[in-house]
């Protein structure tokens, strides 16, 4: 009997963990619609999960675990509102919650959980929140990552991350950040904020500035999951397709990016046999669909560049001229000196290092503190045979490097020309 109980306990725990990962966004969205307070919605959901552990361990799983948790969380909300200092029996929210609870008691079937994730993601990615906060909040509320997991991904202390999340939830409530889908006049701008948060999450994992790699890869996978969700919620949107295609095409190279000592392998030396063909295929199909909509945007152009890399049999046969043009288009849409730097890199392969060096002049002042600028310049100078100047640029790039693997790579190149 004792082992039976232990088994039931373990299966309840497992069911709750699976539920947290799969359904947190849906549950929080539904609760936020009823309660209009993200901190309280999260607290009630937490209470309901704890309660689920007790009940499900004792009685086994209910027919609809998510429905059970939603109903319980609503009752927790009713309790909290009743206990509040300024309890108002006639308040709209309270009346609404009581009515919902009544309906649930009367019906046999568990009610469908309304899908409010689109509103939720627009709220979490609101431009009035700091960008790191937007990422953290989105991972917490839509992906169901724990505060501890998010803190680890950002190399923050769990306390600091918890505080950041609490502050953000309070700001949403107190500053009146709406739980709404933006009106058409602001749709593009606000959608872009959401897609940027998703891509920032991906990049946080992909660029590996600090921290342990396995966790970082998880961030990439979460971002891809969010990209899929966003496309499900806003079907037919070309930039949604573009950002997902970009992430898939970039992530396809993941297995080839590091050697067995966790050192970064540059694109030209990667074993293309390790690239994931099914990711590339999915990314290309998405990109084709997006481009056919004739609504170009920065994510689609970046995805097109990633696709050209993915299609090339090797580094030398890459269509660098096309990539130069795409970076020009990207800079035209979203002026950014980093795009011009990337254009110069492509130009160095299309037309030679001297031409690329000439192109750096226009962005030199703006990118003087930017490590990749000096790494690129060092590479152009080395390939142009100007070793002494290359040495200076390598040293500058090493001094600006944020991680060991990058530093090591540059130091090896520097040794090579000494």
């Amino acid at each position: 009997m004792a082992s039976d109980a232990a088994g039931q306990d373990a299966s309840a725990r497992e069911a709750i963990e699976a539920l947290a990962r799969a359904d947190t966004g849906r549950l929080l969205g539904a609760l936020l619609r009823d309660i209009r307070n993200l901190q309280m919605a999260e607290d009630c959901l937490q209470d309901a999960m704890e309660s689920a552990l007790v009940h499900w361990s004792r009685n086994g799983l209910p027919a609809s675990p998510a429905g059970w948790v939603l109903q319980t969380a609503r009752r927790k909300a009713i309790d909290r509102i009743r206990r509040a200092r300024n309890f108002d029996r006639k308040s709209e929210q309270y009346g609404h919650l009581i009515a919902l609870d009544q309906q649930a008691r009367e019906s046999e079937e568990p009610a469908d959980i309304p899908d409010e994730r689109l509103r939720l993601i627009f709220t979490c990615c609101h431009p009035a929140l700091e960008s790191k906060t937007r990422v953290a909040l989105t991972l917490r509320t839509l992906c169901g990552l724990t505060t501890r997991e998010i803190a680890r991904a950002f190399v923050d202390s769990p306390e600091a991350m918890a505080q950041r999340l609490v502050r953000a939830r309070h700001k949403i409530t107190r500053a009146g950040i709406p739980f709404e889908i933006p009106d058409p006049a602001r749709w593009d701008e606000r959608l872009n904020s959401v897609l940027s948060v998703i891509y920032l999450t991906f990049n946080e994992g992909h660029s590996a500035t600090e921290g342990a790699r396995p966790l970082r890869d998880e961030l990439c996978l979460e971002a891809i999951r969010l990209g899929r969700l966003m496309l499900e919620l806003a079907p037919g949107n070309a930039e949604c397709e573009g950002v997902l295609a970009l992430m898939l095409l970039t992530h396809a190279r993941a297995a080839a990016r590091f050697d067995d000592q966790a050192r970064l392998i540059p694109l030209d030396r990667q074993d293309r046999g390790l690239w994931a063909p099914e990711r590339i295929e999915e990314g290309r199909q998405l990109l084709d669909r997006a481009l056919a909509r004739a609504r170009p945007g920065p994510f689609q152009i970046q995805a097109a560049i990633a696709a050209l890399h993915a299609e090339a049999p090797n580094h030398a046969c890459t269509d660098w001229r096309q990539i130069v043009l795409l970076y020009e288009a990207l800079h035209g849409l979203a002026g950014n000196p980093v795009y011009l730097l990337n254009r110069a890199v492509a130009l160095s392969f299309a037309a030679g290092p001297e031409q690329a060096l000439a192109a750096l002049g226009a962005i030199e002042a703006e990118l003087d503190d930017y490590q990749p600028f000096h790494a690129a310049r060092a590479d152009f100078l080395r390939r142009a045979g100007r070793h002494e100047e290359a040495g200076q640029s390598y040293r500058r790039a090493i001094a600006l490097s944020a991680n060991d693997s990058e530093r090591q790579f540059l130091a090896e190149r520097l040794d090579g020309i000494a």
Partner: protein, 116 residues
């Protein structure tokens, strides 16, 4: 919800009185205020004399102390405010963006605390 829009700008950043740009700038304020009134979101709003006219008061041990000048010396100074009644932050941001000084200074939006 009520929001206070605090208008900050560095002295001399906006058009000066007597220049050709000054007329359209003040017109911008008139038009913005009209819009706020028409949309029923305006609860109040004033322009302030510049910070050289400010006096800072504090009471310490029951004694009133006064100081000549603003509480904090900052490059951007508080020059005026609007008090809005809006549905949410998005609406407040939309109205605050109509304030002409937002083009050379900044507008800080602070929700009014509900102590009801």
């Amino acid at each position: 919800m009520k929001y206070l829009a605090l208008i900050y700008a560095a002295p001399g950043a906006g058009p000066d009185y007597g220049t050709p740009e000054f007329g359209p700038y003040m017109d911008g304020y008139r038009k913005a205020t009209e819009t706020y009134r028409r949309d029923g979101v305006l609860l109040g709003g004033e322009a302030l004399q510049d910070t050289s006219t400010a006096t800072t008061v504090r009471v310490r041990n029951g004694k009133t102390e006064t100081m000549d000048g603003p509480f904090a010396e900052t490059k951007e100074q508080l020059g005026g405010f609007y008090l809005f009644d809006c549905a949410n932050l998005d609406e407040a941001i939309r109205y605050a963006a109509m304030i002409p000084s937002a083009e050379h200074g900044s507008v800080e939006i602070r929700p009014i605390m509900d102590v009801g």
